[in-house]
């Protein structure tokens, strides 16, 4: 009985992130447009885009290989699995122990790996630009992320997201220097990883400035739909990660009854709304930086992570 319920909840979680992801992207766009005093597209525009794309035929470059057509599914699978393992409204998901935080990062890394390969597959210079810049960004973002994981793991004594979240929700956390450093670093990483301003501009159409968009330039139709979906999954993943790590309030415990779950869902959607709004606000209030200033940006994140870890190593009171 319990097992079935856990299965159900795990399934709900998977579907939830899948369904919420485009909405969240749309929400962010909408808010940005409003902040720019524009009408902006309707909230459900991303869904419509996905449907439209999946209706269209795929235009495949002559030089594209079988790998090029497989990769969208790989990327989507990896991202979705990762997203569905992050506690959103309830900790102690059934399969949460199948991959801890490090594994989730690795899953995202593999998604990026395949996507970068796709960028190189067709053999145009745009794909090359995108991939090379993407891996450059990743090569700094990943270690920074790992460092932050170290910090959290050392505080909570676990790399297990559910455990960490429960620990964070518990009163014994308190305010810690290392946590402060970690949250700042994580936000910076999230911005970079999702290709938001100032690192990259999801809405740009000038190839030379693009990173993510350049990489997927050759994709069209259903493939593009999958890519788009996975990128919005990735966005929501990071937001819910931030939420469950640094704002674990209202998240339902492992043995919570329905009302608690309802509270959890409500809290979660609230957090999403706030996160989306803050993101939009941040993006509208800052300009995109040159590609080769990104390393400095991420270097700061890495330093923050390393500093936090060192503090933790030196003394448990930080």
């Amino acid at each position: 009985m319990v097992l079935i319920r856990d299965f159900a909840i795990q399934g709900v979680q998977m579907l939830l992130v899948l369904l919420l992801a485009p909405l969240f992207t749309g929400f962010v766009r909408k808010v940005k447009a409003r902040l720019l005093r524009r009408q902006g597209p309707p909230l459900i525009q991303p869904y419509l885009d996905l449907v439209r794309l999946s209706r269209k035929e795929v235009v495949l470059a002559d030089s594209a290989s079988w790998l090029f057509r497989v990769i969208p599914y790989l990327v989507f699978a990896a991202t979705w699995v990762a997203a569905s393992l992050v506690p959103t409204f309830r900790t102690g998901l059934l399969f949460s122990w199948s991959a801890d935080l490090i594994a989730i990062i690795a899953l995202l890394a593999s998604a990026r790996f395949y996507l970068a390969l796709a960028g190189l597959d067709v053999g145009t210079s745009f794909g090359g630009i995108g991939s090379s810049r993407e891996v450059m960004i990743a090569s700094l973002a990943e270690p920074a992320m790992i460092m932050i994981v170290f910090t959290l793991a050392l505080i909570a004594g676990s790399t297990q997201l559910s455990t960490v979240a429960e620990f964070m929700a518990s009163p014994q956390v308190g305010l810690r220097v290392s946590l402060g450093l970690a949250v700042v670093g994580l936000v910076m990483i999230a911005i970079a990883e999702n290709g938001r301003v100032p690192v990259d501009n999801p809405a740009t159409h000038l190839e030379l400035t693009m990173v993510h968009e350049a990489m997927v330039l050759e994709y069209s139709g259903r493939h593009l739909a999958l890519i788009e979906l996975s990128s919005s999954l990735k966005l929501i993943l990071y937001v819910s990660l931030l939420a469950c790590l640094f704002a674990p309030w209202g998240i339902a415990g492992a043995s919570a009854a329905l009302p608690a779950l309802a509270v959890g869902v409500a809290a979660y959607s609230g957090k999403l709304a706030i996160g989306g709004f803050l993101l939009a606000l941040f993006e509208t209030s800052i300009a995109k930086m040159r590609v080769f200033r990104v390393p400095e940006f991420l270097g700061v994140a890495l330093m923050l992570g390393l500093l936090a870890t060192l503090l933790r190593f030196v003394s448990a009171s930080f």
């Binding site: 790998l67 699995v81 594994a103 891996v135 050759e218 259903r222």
Partner: protein, 669 residues
């Protein structure tokens, strides 16, 4: 029993080598030699695996060879059984691969005799149980692999590679010789059991450990002793490169483990500082070097350096934990290191096989002349992709598991009391994470430039899929990579006796854990389930695919790629390896390699192509080896004048010697 089988196998290999000398030039020789070595490796492999799984007691054997009053001691315990397994697995796959690959060798008589001897050498190192036998096998291994490196000796750079390799190898051997001399004491107790019984003093043990690190490290490729590796590994035929990178470096790791964790006595905590610091540097330097390469095999060789660094991080942690009596954590770190030894031997061999297949198909090692091979040789491309994903530590493959375990070990290190480690370990962790990310970047480059995109040259255009033996070898290893990735518990449990023997503690049995996940410490703390992640990805990917194919349109149109309105862009406009690495080169290379980019842009209207030249300098070579070579040359020049003295001057030398000695006598009393 197993020991006898293993020894018999190596004897058989030596006999095979002798036969190969005789029949080396025959047409059928290649098939015969590689077939036979495949069979022998298989037998030995089965024996080793059986021993390890059954967890038998150590067996030892003394033959009346080597140093007369000592004899040649051989011993098979869990540790040597594990490394024997690694060796045989590599040997098996390499021989299988060579059944097809060897056919393309233009001078087989330079390869066939040395190949089985090389295998025998590696096997004997693992089995040896006294200093002399160990060093003989060790140096024999180096010697035979040197001969294999020299097999394409008409290329000048290969000869240079062979020279550097042999000198570095002998340097390592001499360092080990000193280490053993130290442990054996003035009256030469060379047998390992005598050394185990000896309990050397802390200072002595430390010195031995340093020497072992230098000796074994120079063979494994620890920075700054790695210089021979990227020269020698690519120079050899690819199946030999696979063995050298995938297996021989592991044998070196074995040597270090044997001395550091067993013979040198109980470790002091600061030993690990040396090991960890060097290991961290090695890890990052290796991958950075690799990123700057565009020679496929050299790139792989540099990645060996990186992975050796990862392994030594694990070993260093194990030393630190053991020194502080945290045996459980030590067992975790040690197991992580050994598991990475196993994994790396798998995917590095696989990758070198792929490089070999490319080499036979196109005759090219330079990635800038390749591209688009995925169309011409899809199966090789698939196997190579798995290798790339595995070495980039991507779940659900095996590379990730061992790195994950290493991270878990690092997360246990705050309990270490000593401050040096408190500060060093997180830095090492950061370096490890950095190298993991860079490795992924590097293999995106390697795979993308070699196999994806459009063919850059005619040879790449007309390449054909490689033979079935090579493919069999590659797919065997690829399957093992996946297996070790989704069922790591089995392998961790198989390693338990090893860590129990050397650390005195073992990781908890994994096989009982729910859903076959691995739980190094406690489920609430951390766990990973490769199988489940794998299934998850299959299911979700499958769901997506089926949904797409049910709901979405499946129309598809082939069209030229988007060209910004400049039609038929030549393949030269693709990203090359150098240009792909450019962002990372700007970030890291300017610091590490003092990379300089000079671009010359012809004025408008001029039809000359603009060209960008990149200048890199190897910090290690320039700061260490070049001055050394110069110093030796200078000394040689100075001393060489003595060759041209006149007889009278020589006489005065004698005269001075005489007077000097008489003076010594005069002042003696």
């Amino acid at each position: 029993m197993t020991l006898t089988v293993a020894l018999a196998c190596s004897a058989g290999l030596l006999a095979l080598a002798a036969v190969a000398v005789a029949i080396g030039r025959e047409a059928a020789a290649t098939r015969f030699v590689y077939g036979a070595s495949t069979a022998i490796a298989a037998i030995s492999l089965v024996a080793a695996a059986a021993y390890l799984v059954a967890g038998e007691a150590p067996a030892s054997l003394v033959l009346p060879l080597g140093i007369p009053w000592l004899g040649a001691h051989f011993r098979l315990d869990a540790l040597s059984a594990f490394f024997l397994l690694v060796t045989d697995l590599g040997a098996l796959s390499a021989s299988l691969f060579a059944l097809g690959y060897g056919a393309h060798e233009e001078a087989p008589e330079r390869v066939l005799p040395f190949y089985p001897a090389f295998l025998a050498g590696m096997t004997l190192v693992v089995l040896a149980d006294d200093a002399f036998t160990f060093l003989v096998s060790w140096e024999f291994m180096s010697l035979t692999s040197w001969a294999l490196v020299m097999s394409h000796h008409r290329v000048a750079e290969n000869v240079r590679a062979g020279f550097v390799y042999l000198v570095m190898a002998s340097f390592g051997t001499l360092a080990l010789m000193l280490a053993f001399g130290l442990l054996a004491g003035p009256d030469g107790l060379y047998a390992f059991e005598q050394m185990r019984a000896a309990h050397p003093s802390a200072m002595l043990g430390a010195l031995a450990l340093i020497l072992a690190l230098v000796g074994a490290g120079s063979k494994a490729g620890i920075v700054p002793l790695h210089v021979w590796l990227p020269l020698a590994h690519p120079a050899a035929p690819s199946h030999v490169s696979a063995l050298m990178s995938g297996v021989m470096t592991k044998v070196a790791v074995y040597g270090f483990v044997r001395i550091a964790l067993e013979l040198a006595g109980p470790p002091a905590w600061w030993w690990s500082i040396v090991v960890l610091a060097l290991a961290g540097i090695t890890t990052v330097m290796g991958v950075l070097y690799a990123l700057m390469q565009h020679d496929l095999k050299r790139l792989l060789a540099y990645h060996t350096v990186e992975n050796i660094g990862i392994i030594f991080i694990g070993l260093g942690l194990a030393l630190a934990f053991k020194a502080h009596g945290m045996l459980f954590a030590a067992a975790l770190a040690f197991t992580a290191a050994l598991l990475h030894v196993f994994n790396h031997s798998l995917f590095k061999s696989l990758l070198f096989f792929g490089a070999g297949a490319v080499l036979t198909a196109t005759g090219e090692r330079d990635m800038e002349h390749l591209g688009g091979l995925i169309h011409r040789m899809p199966q090789t491309a698939f196997a190579f992709l798995i290798g790339c994903a595995a070495i980039s530590a991507l779940p659900p493959l095996n590379g990730f598991v061992s790195e994950w375990l290493t991270f878990q070990a690092i997360l246990l290190s705050p309990q270490l009391p000593s401050w040096g480690l408190k500060l060093l370990v997180p830095a090492v962790g950061a370096l490890l994470a950095l190298s993991a990310a860079l490795a992924a970047a590097c293999f995106v480059k390697a795979y993308g430039v070699t196999f994806l995109g459009r063919a850059r040259t005619h040879v790449a255009q007309t390449a054909v899929e490689t033979d079935r033996f090579s493919l069999a070898a590659m797919f065997l290893l690829a399957a093992l990579c996946l297996l070790a990735g989704i069922l790591p518990g089995l392998f961790i449990d198989a390693l338990a006796p090893v860590s129990a023997a050397l650390i005195g503690e073992r990781m908890p049995a994994q096989i009982g854990a729910q859903w076959l996940s691995i739980v190094p410490i406690a489920a609430s703390r951390s766990s990973y389930d490769g199988l489940l992640v794998f299934l998850f990805m299959i299911i979700s990917g499958g769901l997506a695919a089926s949904a797409i194919h049910r709901l979405a349109s499946d129309r598809l149109r082939r069209a030229p790629a988007w060209d910004c309105g400049y039609p038929d862009a030549s393949p030269a406009t693709q990203y090359t390896a150098m240009s792909f690495a450019q962002p990372i080169r700007r970030v890291f290379g300017t610091v590490v390699f003092s990379a300089r980019e000079t671009g010359e842009m012809p004025p408008p209207g001029d039809t000359r192509p603009a060209r960008l030249t990149v200048r890199l300098s190897d910090p290690v070579w320039d700061s260490l080896y070049a001055p050394l070579g110069a110093a030796i040359g200078f000394t040689a020049d100075q001393l060489n004048r003595l060759q041209f003295l006149t007889i009278r001057q020589f006489l005065s030398l004698v005269f001075c010697a005489l007077v000097a000695l008489l003076l010594v006598l005069a002042v003696w009393s």
